[in-house]
């Protein structure tokens, strides 16, 4: 028997690592992967709560999160390709045209 809080703490740790990766990494593709990590952390807490309350709707919400993640990955990677075509770099520090 594993307490519900263990799963939620693991979810919080994964979310924190995702936030850290988003802020620390400079490669735009790795930033995207950090966002996926955060979405996965949220999915874990959805499933844990579904098991705790015996409610299936948590699983349906995970399904919707995955759909949004897939759409986001498709559009985001297309944007990355467009950025690379015009700027010839994947480093977010060099994509600074709007910066003062």
């Amino acid at each position: 028997m594993v307490p519900l809080s263990y799963y939620l703490v693991l979810s919080a740790i994964l979310f924190g690592l995702g936030v850290t990766g988003f802020l620390v990494k400079r490669n735009i593709i790795t930033l995207f992967m950090s966002i996926e990590l955060m979405l996965n952390a949220v999915n874990l807490s959805f499933v844990a709560f579904a098991a705790h309350w015996g409610a299936l709707s948590g699983h349906v919400y995970v399904f919707f999160v995955m759909v949004v993640a897939a759409a986001e990955a498709a559009v985001g990677l297309a944007i990355i390709i467009a950025v690379f075509r015009t700027r010839q770099t994947l480093n977010v520090d060099r994509v600074n045209l709007l910066k003062l």
């Binding site: 028997m1 740790i13 499933v47 559009v75």
Partner: protein, 164 residues
Amino acid sequence: MLHQVLFFFFAAVCVAGALNLLFQRHPINSALSLIVVMGSLAVLYLLLGAEFVAAIQVIVYAGAIMVLFIFVIMLLNAGEEEHAGGSRVAAVLGYPAVALLVGLAAWSVVRSSGSAGLKLGGFVGSTEGIGYLLFRGFLLPFEVTSVLILIAIMGAVVLARKED
């Protein structure tokens, strides 16, 4: 007992994969460690009785989405990340801030949920039940997601198209 052993093993694999994602400099190594994280999360979903979610986690996330990532990494021939001189303020304030955030979330969760335990096999979410929910109560959101996917496909095609 079995539940605890499996939980701690795959939770450790999960956290190690996420840490490896941060420490690797080459994006392809980060992508592969993210696949490890997703695979072990699928096992945790199985422990929680979410069979359908575990299956689509492996098929859609670790399969389709990560293949898309790796495809783009190889298409753009992404090399090693350039080392940016991170500011000292970020190192001194940023990491403790994230640790504080995680600690606060963990503390509030542990305090409020008490010791309510989850039994192995105590709750099994059947695919049939999810189908009933999806096509009855959640029918409108389900249809909206199909439109969302369609718009995402069109957006990806338009954005990645070659300019002529």
